[in-house]
Symmetry: C2
Subunit: 200 residues, 2 copies
């Protein structure tokens, strides 16, 4: 989701986002303060308030930043082969997420606040709709190209996101180290049953 958080940047917005990443990873959402973010940023809280009025404004911007990073990573998936592309997308969602396991705890806290926080809610929905669109598109391409069996692509994309969200929840709540790997295997099994992958 986020590149090396220690990479320095000349862009103050990006530097604040990286500081937020480190502060969230270290303290979680409930214990996050502007002061802690400022400490990671290496400047005063005033320097952060200059860009963001409130902590929740900053965190809404942080969710946009994380989604942006995810989009960048997805754009690097260059193959147009539907089977390979679907595998790589699932790797991005379930394998690469393990590189940021320190962020998963804070993300689940923020997700649990979605019913009370409209800007969070909006961004989680937008993120989900975007990823489902990517999945649905590649599934439809595979169906059109006859490499996948005919299927309800919209439903299959939702089912895959259910597995992804379950894995991320379990990784945090149960501290289950194998949650992402279990889900990656389950997603492959689900697709084998649903899209009837033909042997290569």
């Amino acid at each position: 989701m986020v590149d090396d958080p220690d990479r320095s940047s000349a862009d103050p917005d990006e530097a604040i986002m990286r500081a937020t990443y480190r502060a969230l990873s270290a303290h979680g959402y409930a214990d996050l303060t502007m002061k802690r973010i400022a400490a990671e940023y290496g400047k005063s809280t005033a320097a952060i308030h200059y860009h963001y009025d409130t902590k929740d404004d900053l965190l809404a911007a942080f969710l946009d930043f994380v989604l942006g990073r995810f989009k960048d990573a997805v754009h690097e998936v260059e193959t147009t082969d539907p089977e390979e592309r679907l595998e790589l997308l699932l790797d991005q969602l379930l394998v690469s997420a393990g590189d940021h396991s320190d962020l998963l705890v804070a993300m689940l806290e923020m997700r649990s606040q979605a019913p009370y926080n409209e800007p969070f809610s909006e961004r989680f929905r937008q993120n989900d709709a975007y990823v489902r669109y990517l999945l649905e598109t590649v599934i439809d391409q595979g169906i059109d190209a006859d490499v996948f069996a005919d299927a309800d692509a919209e439903h299959v994309a939702r089912a895959l996101m259910t597995i992804v969200d379950g894995a991320r929840t379990r990784a945090v709540v149960l501290d289950e180290e194998t949650a992402l790997a279990t889900a990656r295997r389950a997603a492959a099994e689900y697709l084998a049953g649903t899209l009837d992958h033909r042997p290569a």
Copy 2:
């Protein structure tokens, strides 16, 4: 998970649990106070503190209560036919949960606190291990009886719980009304691919 919360009870512990259920459903976890639980209980906060020292003690007991209710519901699943029993367990996990959607919001807040709250963490792990044991047992019975194809029952149970946890998370974070129904269908498709259900 919980029977009709308005049913009155002579047992003070159970009456407090029902009051906690109503207070959690109405206010969520972050805004839950002993005062609000007492208001639902219809007695003073002292009457609750007599039984539970802190809010977190009470909530740990509440998680035990919810798990107990779930166990009771599962014991009512009387069939020993593995296919039917597995279907009914999934209905309990994914269909009946919809009757308590007001509780799902508070439960996700509590789950997100598991990394910071050992008594919560312990109960979520215990709950998960219990449900996985039920699923694994019925899958193994089906494999032994040759109604299911040979499969890694431990993994299949984990995969099913990933779908269950994903559905519950999505129902709350995305306010997705169809999240449980989508997951129920995905679980059936996953099992059709994995356990190779034979046609009835």
